[in-house]
Symmetry: C2
Subunit: 209 residues, 2 copies
Amino acid sequence: METKGILVVVSGFSGAGKGTIMKELLRRYDNYALSISATTRSPREGEQDGREYFFKTREEFEKMIAEDALIEHACYVENYYGTPRAYVEEQLALGKDVILEIEIQGALQIRKRFPDTLLLFISPPDAETLKKRLIGRGTETMEVIESRLARAVEEAEGIENYDYFIVNDELDECVEHVHSLIQEEHRRVSRSMELINEIRTELKAFQKG
Amino acid sequence: METKGILVVVSGFSGAGKGTIMKELLRRYDNYALSISATTRSPREGEQDGREYFFKTREEFEKMIAEDALIEHACYVENYYGTPRAYVEEQLALGKDVILEIEIQGALQIRKRFPDTLLLFISPPDAETLKKRLIGRGTETMEVIESRLARAVEEAEGIENYDYFIVNDELDECVEHVHSLIQEEHRRVSRSMELINEIRTELKAFQKG
């Protein structure tokens, strides 16, 4: 029935558990492909090129922009982040649902270029839990907390640009919701036009015959 | 999180198994309420007033139209069919997801008056199966078959007005798809604005405090 995978953007508040949800989703189901971003920031300890990110120099990254080799890119804290086009297109063509874990700037670029992208926003269950996660273990400086908070306020303002708002209360349930949500999306009329048109054609031929 | 139920319209080709799917959905889950239509057609053998339909005289029905007591109505083969407003509103307020099994004319009226209605179209798996169901057991007259076929062609033309196209291949799977589809719909950003706004307000208060 579906001939092509769905492009899915996952964003959410810092501390909402996006990373864990994505990891579980990929572990449980084999119809997903997770896109790996390119970035100009330096690898942190334990990060591997091609696993967490593709680490690029500023020159390499700007060349990718110039060659339209990225389907979205954005700048945070003076570093570039972007999604390489080739992997996404290849996996979609194979019928995989491709997940991009990106921020709102990039999400809006993707929605504009690929209007049938599914945009998901993940949140802790309530403001209290969100605040606790922003504060962290009490070892953060006020500056760090304030910057996280400012970002969360900004992210909250952008939620209306997303399709679904998913509360991560209990991890296991949340993973299953994200999965059914993406799978049911395959049943959208706009994604089923091939089968619908086939039925239309055959009904008309039957009517004439 | 959700304060209100979702209004769901279910339409589909004749012989697609809508009735069986609805019956199973109501048997398995207690969050659904099935709206019962009013009609001016005569009860068939075994049909009970208030179970299959509310049977009304033409005068009674036209009075309901005049009093805006129906949220949609349509005319088929010189009989009126319509959805009484009171039951739908009462069940939605109780948080039930209310299902209307109606035809496309009524579906379009509902979508116009209640834009956030979820519209589902149910189909047999392919044109071949659909044709077999239209023909029936071989005991139908050509006239009956041709009229069913003409209607199916018309229904097929209207599918783009629906949100999801659901193939009823295997009943059990199909019921579960319809269920997850409706349940995931509760997670739409537009249906979660209460929680989103609460988080926004508290984040801003926290920022100032």
